[in-house]
Point group: C2
Chain length 433, copies 2
Amino acid sequence: MTTVPHRIKQGAESTHLLAALGGEERGALLLALADALDDPEIMQPVLAANAVDMDRGEAAMETGDLSEASLARLRLAPSKLASLSAGLRTLAAQPEIVNTRVTHRELAPGLILEQRRHPLGVIGVVFEARPDALPQIVGLALKSGNAIVLKGGREAARTNAAMTAVIHHVLRASKVPVAAVTLLEDRAEFRELLAQDAAVDLLVARGSGAFVRMVEGATKIPVLGHAEGMCHIYLHEDANPEMAAALVVDAKTTYPAACNAVETLLWHTSAPQAIDATLAALHAQGVKLRGCDATMARHPEVRAATDDDWGAEYSDLVLAVRAVEDLDAALTHIRTYGSGHTEAIVAESAAVAEQFIRQVDAACIFHNASTRFSDGLRFGLGGEVGISTGKLHARGPVGVEGLMTTRWLLRGSGDLSADFDTKTRAFTHRDIC
Amino acid sequence: MTTVPHRIKQGAESTHLLAALGGEERGALLLALADALDDPEIMQPVLAANAVDMDRGEAAMETGDLSEASLARLRLAPSKLASLSAGLRTLAAQPEIVNTRVTHRELAPGLILEQRRHPLGVIGVVFEARPDALPQIVGLALKSGNAIVLKGGREAARTNAAMTAVIHHVLRASKVPVAAVTLLEDRAEFRELLAQDAAVDLLVARGSGAFVRMVEGATKIPVLGHAEGMCHIYLHEDANPEMAAALVVDAKTTYPAACNAVETLLWHTSAPQAIDATLAALHAQGVKLRGCDATMARHPEVRAATDDDWGAEYSDLVLAVRAVEDLDAALTHIRTYGSGHTEAIVAESAAVAEQFIRQVDAACIFHNASTRFSDGLRFGLGGEVGISTGKLHARGPVGVEGLMTTRWLLRGSGDLSADFDTKTRAFTHRDIC
């Protein structure tokens, strides 16, 4: 095993080949990876490794060191493999993005400017103990022409190592060196990665807000943080009660640990039917409710919320509920407690919805749709390395496009800037269609 | 005068109005600003303030505290005002960018996703003592719907204050509060700005590499650094000697202090005519040359370069010159010493030029064109807040687009994620043209 800086250097040296792959070669590589995930014989050691990780995970759960939700994420069921291979096939079928044109402009006759998409280079991704994330991230990295350095949660260490061995096996049959995909073993190696700011172009950090802030504080590599999803749904006074109930149940219960699950429900005090229907449906699903005085006055079974409940990311079957006087009060609450992830309104009035959309500043703003749609696969991005709540570079679900930079290419025939300063020549700045 | 955090908070509160301006209102505001710059009566106090700054600047030059180039940058000649107002009129005429669509996709029938451009919010810009930068930056901020906090070089303090007064006067006649444009007075206020990471979305730092790194180390605000331009021109063996000479003279002498000026010339050892013609032309322009042994063997008048010359940003009429054996050696030199700003090749062979373009990773890569074209105005971006050598968010000249983020908007009619998990419904992911 060579040192981390050396492995990252080898990864950086492979970026040339990754960027230069043709669209067909890149597609073939992704399909070969999908074929491997579909092959029970090839997957056997991965599933065996996952069984060992699961055994240890169950023991950790019994001693209270691992939650049931974490254990569920740790399991690499054959159904997950099938969905991963389907994702890779979708990615393979999507148009090639490396070297595609963003801008094409004649600056002056014979002086042609292009802006083209280019891989960032080397990307680090640190992610939770969730082994299905690994092939998805590798697929996005290969599609975007980037070398990747991975560090997964330690509970999934054996599964990740076995999966990486499969990926390296697939790479060996291609033009791409195995150095393009590096798996770090432990925290010591991760700390070495954090020091490689000269060689690593972007670090995607997935985990809690505290974890992302820790990573940001410990490295000079730019960090794209996938962190808190403090999502709200606001029921306007004209909300359709049945729709409201179904949307909030979907947003809270289908995957409570997901960052796009709803955490606080706001309801207009003139929407009693909508809140009644919604709380009844949530209650039927076993969701625990923490409410303000006005909510409790109407629904005595709701427990009193404390100040800590507003802004709490429960990641569990718990929901905070607060009555608001009007749209403005809802917007103020969201501005105060939201994390800029996903905010939704349920309203029949399109004009009110547009007002909400105009005034909320978040990565994702939804009207009459579940917050759970905030997702790279669901948005049609071919997967995601994370969901960014920052405003720079990439915002919201980060797919292939978020892993790219651009280069400006200018082609002339001896063109001099002085000729334009002296007005011997003039810029046309004509976009070429 | 209120405190810096309070003024930034007021700026943040104005972002709503800035984002909501219609395209015509925004254009009218930029035109009003251009009219003010064209009005000698309105400009009189600005020019008077500049005369005082210039007096002090000249005194500083005499004591060796300010360079002649810096003094030239400090002068706000009426010709500069005319060019600034022309720039603002160009910006006003460009299509509205706020709220324009990046993506438009049907996720499933009736469930429509849009990605739209949105202002970042509050942008800080710290820039050198160059008062013409101020109205240009304000123009880009208004066009992109952002509030702006400015800190200019102290030598231009009086000019900047007078110019800001004019801008506030123009804003008072519009819907936009004057809080949208804040000028910081001194370093103490700048240090207060650095602490406002919760309120400021982006900090553009212009200046030396050391200054940019100091700013990056002193704030949690994301920094877009406009720093070193360590630009190379490589003369391939088939370079046209006349073209080579003209391009290198243009790239070195038209504005030696600019970041897009060439600093090192590489020449293929089989291109004797090209290097002879180029060095003769540079010599005639008074450019001092520092060369490698092979260069000195051919041109004994060239002084010997030391290791420090490779990678030196002279920002002056000095050029390092090095012979290379082939294209690969040129690429290796550029990879070692380049700053990722602008790299150019002079070659008759289009195939060789494409090989160069493919293998260089820099913001701007040029074939048979002067490095001096790396500029927001020349690229047709309507100006620039700086040139970014980083790969994230914006790369190369940063115009209006680099000051924007996006928001994902999803509109449905009660759509549930569970229906897609259970395959009751299927995603179509059809892009809407």
